[in-house]
């Protein structure tokens, strides 16, 4: 069950790739699941009006059952620009944890595929699923090298390696991260992952889901749409599935199996 809390920021750090890390002070909060999100708003008046959705990037339990949250943020427009001016000591209103998060992978190897700031929910996921014998890999793409968010602080458990894709070829694989995913699956046919997790822009997730479906690999995606409430009431975030039914991203997602949204037929 979500709660609404005013929390203080302990630090605002450069997270690389033009992204910021907002580290909250420990507070009495409900422990989230990786892949869940919060509706976040600064204590300003009526503009910008709505809170903005952000994935839980990382969290830890500290003393007295308190929870310390971390968000990763890319500045896009008015709301994120204002949030980006927050400093240590600034206060934020956070409503959450909201939605359905990631599940454990069914086997010993899992790949995470991030489009830009889509990397945000993966540090928490890695913390939750890493085991000594699991091989976890991260594929991260952006338009250009300067936009690749940093990953060093959570790379230790990425025993399957990290690969970068840039559209302009300035670093790593030249092409989209979905092209990289397809080519890595070709290369790795003897050791395909038991699960692929994807987070990024909608079209990128749809393309990645098609690649996974073709390869017969379970794929879960973290969907996004403009959100008003985060609680299932405004109906703003509802998308249509291939079965012509409604899917409410904030309550039935944001994380879901790709085959709930897109048909396997369409991918062939």
């Amino acid at each position: 069950m979500p709660t609404l809390n005013r929390i203080r920021l302990e630090a605002v750090e450069d997270a690389g790739g033009g992204c910021l890390r907002l580290v909250c002070a420990p507070a009495s909060l409900i422990a989230p699941m990786p892949g869940q999100f919060y509706m976040v708003r600064g204590p300003w008046e009526a503009d910008p009006l709505l809170p903005r959705p952000f994935s839980i990037a990382r969290f830890r339990s500290v003393k007295n059952g308190q929870i310390q949250l971390e968000f990763l943020l890319r500045i896009i427009g008015r709301g994120t620009r204002l949030l980006g001016t927050a400093r240590a000591g600034s206060e934020l209103d956070v409503l959450g944890p909201l939605g359905i998060g990631f599940e454990q992978p069914p086997g010993d190897s899992a790949w995470m595929v991030a489009g830009g700031i889509g990397i945000a929910p993966f540090p928490a996921l890695i913390d939750a699923i890493a085991t000594p014998k699991r091989k976890l890999s991260l594929l991260v793409g952006a338009r250009t090298e300067a936009e690749i968010p940093g990953f060093n602080d959570f790379a230790a458990n990425l025993t399957g390696g990290v690969e970068i894709a840039t559209d302009d070829g300035s670093a790593g694989f030249a092409g989209t991260v979905v092209d990289l995913l397809a080519s890595r699956l070709d290369r790795a046919s003897d050791q395909t992952p038991s699960q692929v997790y994807v987070c990024g822009p909608h079209a990128m997730m749809e393309a990645a889901a098609a690649v996974c479906m073709d390869a017969g690999i379970p794929c879960s995606v973290s969907l996004e749409a403009p959100m008003g409430c985060g609680m299932g009431t405004c109906r703003g975030c509802v998308i249509r599935t291939f079965r012509n039914t409604n899917f409410t991203i904030c309550t039935e997602g944001p994380v879901t199996d790709a085959n709930v949204i897109w048909s396997e037929q369409n991918s062939q």
Binding site: M1, P2, T3, L4, R41, A46, D47, P48, L49, L50, P51, D93, L95, A225, P226, M227, G228, C229, M231, G232, T233, C234, R235, G236, C237, V238, I239, R240, N244, T245, N246
Partner: protein, 305 residues
Amino acid sequence: MTADLSVRIGDLTLRNPILTASGTFGYAAEYETMVDFNKIGGIITKGISPEPRLGNPQPRIWETESGLINAIGLDNVGVEDFEQSKLDYLRKIECAVIVNFFAESAEGYAKLARTLGAMAGVDALEANISCPNVKAGGREFGVDPVAAAEVTIASREATNCPLIVKLSPDVSNIGDIASAVADAGADAVTVANSMPAMAIDIESRRPRLSFGRGGLTGPAVRPIVTRLVYESAQATDIPVIASGGASNWRDVVEFLLAGASAVQAGTVNFVNPRASVEMAEGLETYCRQSGINSLTQLVGAVDMP
């Protein structure tokens, strides 16, 4: 001494004038952990139609300066599922339960009003008349006094349940519509639904919403709604319920002074899910501190030049 904040709508007594607006509070259960329903006057459900509706494709909402444009497309569970899966919870909560509803013909409104009005646990109905009249070629019921009265009469004859009619703000004389609806038997009017609006992406040259147009809500519309509430209250004796941009107890007092008997909290629920309770508590404190012991001392008390 605590002030008497109660309000009467037909046979229904609300403990205080704060209601949550249709489409901004789901079916109440969603807010169970955040809102103490004992502290507000009532909740109004998402608009219910005869059949379930999927609503519009993405994008459905777009934020503008201090406002929100939505074109949800009346996405709702339909009356059957409402009774089966939402009503049990609503019967348990201790504030008034008002069901918002709409249809595409006067007969459709009558049928739905009869069905909903007979359900145990439904304390009042709110007819949303800002939707297209299929028979009149898609023109809204709410923009024409004759069509508005027709829907009101049809609904009124179908049920004894207190009936609120929710008006469109997009009219040249809201007083005419309010008095037509009052004469047709409505117990109250809600003023008003969202304001027709539009936003365009200058890069793609396409509208921001898939539907093209949408309805503007939130603080941006409040001064316009204050004027509409004032004009409606001047035109009729039935209670006027303000809906548009209220965010805090000060806005509530302003609407009461303009002539409203009750005030709905809408878009503000997204900004702060506890807003309705905070508005009720703030109003109570204000009344206590200003020596007001009945809301009648405030309603319509604006000192116009």
